[in-house]
């Protein structure tokens, strides 16, 4: 269907009026060369008119040998919008920390203009490179070109999702372990679990180098690995004095906001009672030249976060309070083996690990994976007057 003039999209045009970059503008640009993008605009405009989405739920498409990496998308009025009758999404495994050469990005863009709509989303919530809008007959060819260029598909469905991490030690002095190496090693180790979904539901692993948690692991990863230090915050008194001289209200903006209430500013000297430090990073963020994480570094491992899809949102719970840097990967791999065994055995279809833990209780879960309960696993360990003993403990 030749289109000289693009169809009017008054409702979508509203989304271009604000101060921010607009995806509508970008799709319009793509539509100049690509009929799928033109139909995509039309379909979206129609969704706004009808106040309902016109993408059908589900769809099973894929490439040979893989059970994940491609998400089927069909619209429910294909006669009106034939160029987006099939508009499948490919997830492409991103490099650790999202570092690309411009050449790699050009290669990706070229592949995608040859085989698909040319529209991308860098990056999706999992971290993957998202290629939007492929026809079924183009999937295998796209996959071949991607692998020839050194890329591979990421996880989707009830699989281990593509692991992601913050930029870590590549750019950040606060990173308490090498998140990029960890992420890459994990990706290589679990190729089967990523490409051939074996689980009751999705499983996400994310690694942040420090408690600032730049990949927001704690709120959305089934297993979060968050860099942390065990010893004391390193303090440069001369630099603290400089911040004070420059007008920083240390008492109000640093000490008063410390969740552990472990800092004191006399007007001349800052003292930190590190025993009560919660490793929240606030003071370090405010005075980066004066305060730094300690030198005994490693990570905390947390479990069970998820965004609300089938049930409500969950935040992570601490599983291992501290593991030294050198032992992080081995510990995580051992934990994953035990956690997956338990989840596979007891998890219901489409039940995330956090929901399973809620259902059976943390005590049963810890027992199942062979970990001893520890005070760090509880949000307020000293506040609860009730102590439950197992029957065998009372003899």
């Amino acid at each position: 269907m030749p289109e000289d003039q693009p169809k009017p999209t008054p409702l979508l045009d509203e989304l271009e009026t604000g101060p921010w970059p607009s995806f509508v503008t970008e799709i319009k640009r793509a539509a100049e060369n690509n009929p799928a993008s033109a139909d995509l605009l039309g379909l979206l405009e129609r969704s706004y008119q009808d106040r309902k989405g016109h993408w059908k739920h589900g769809g099973i498409v894929g490439v040979r040998g893989y059970g994940s990496g491609v998400i089927g998308r069909y619209n429910d009025i294909p006669d009106e919008f034939p160029n987006v009758a099939q508009f499948h999404t490919l997830r492409v495994n991103h490099p650790s920390g999202w570092f690309y050469t411009s050449d790699a990005l050009r290669t990706l863009a070229d592949i995608w203009e040859r085989h698909g709509s040319g529209l991308t989303n860098l990056h999706g919530a999992t971290g993957d490179i998202i290629l939007l809008g492929a026809r079924t007959d183009q999937l295998e060819a796209t996959f071949q070109d991607l692998t020839a260029a050194g890329f591979d598909l990421g996880g989707s469905g009830s699989a281990m999702r593509t692991p992601s991490c913050c930029v870590g030690q590549a750019r950040c002095e606060w990173a308490c372990f090498d998140t990029m190496k960890f992420c890459n090693n994990l990706t290589q180790a679990y190729q089967d679990e990523m490409h051939r979904p074996p689980f009751p539901y999705k499983f996400k692993v994310k690694a942040s180098g420090c408690p600032n948690d730049c990949v927001a692991a704690i709120a959305r990863a089934d297993l979060s690995i968050i860099g942390i230090w065990k010893d004391d915050i390193r303090q440069d008194d001369a630099a603290v004095a400089e911040y004070a001289a420059a007008g920083l209200d240390i008492a109000r903006d640093v000490c008063a906001r410390c969740p552990g209430q472990c800092m004191e500013w006399t007007g001349a000297h800052l003292t930190i009672d590190n025993r009560d430090c919660k490793r929240c990073m606030h003071c370090i963020n405010v005075m980066p030249k004066a305060l730094r994480p300690g030198v005994e570094r490693g990570a905390a491992i947390l479990i069970g976060a998820k965004a609300p899809i089938v049930q409500g949102a969950l935040l992570s719970s601490v599983l291992v309070p501290f593991v030294p840097e050198a032992e992080i990967e081995a510990t995580v791999r051992e934990l994953l083996a035990r956690i997956w065994e338990f989840w596979d055995e007891y998890g219901k279809n489409r039940e995330r690990i956090g929901e399973l833990i809620q259902r059976v209780g943390m005590a049963a879960f810890l027992d199942g994976i062979g970990l001893e309960p520890r005070p760090e696993m509880v949000a307020f360990p000293r506040d609860n007057p009730f102590v439950f003993f197992q029957k065998e403990d009372t003899k």
Binding site: G58, G59, I60, G62, G65, G67, G157, R196, P197, P198
Partner: protein, 105 residues
Amino acid sequence: MPKYEHDGRIYEVDEDGFLQEPDLWNETVARDFAASEDVPEMTDAHWVVVNYLRNYYLQFGIAPMVRKVVKETGFKLTQIYELFPSGPAKGACKVAGLPKPTGCV
């Protein structure tokens, strides 16, 4: 409604090529659909997987979880992908004439 044709037999399918009426399934249907999923020949191993899926579906009305398929058929997941290159959900379920498994992204 899309159609799938093999050896002159025509089936009504959904957009992913799954048989629309599971009751029409028989072994000839399975062989016809195997051709659409990169399975050139249905061996005994293929039938073990397909018959397991079929019987589970007839008993419970849904497709089994992947772990159950692995456990009950005795094949590792990678072996199932060797038998059915498009995997247990897309390949094996389609050949077994199950309705499209409701997955999620």
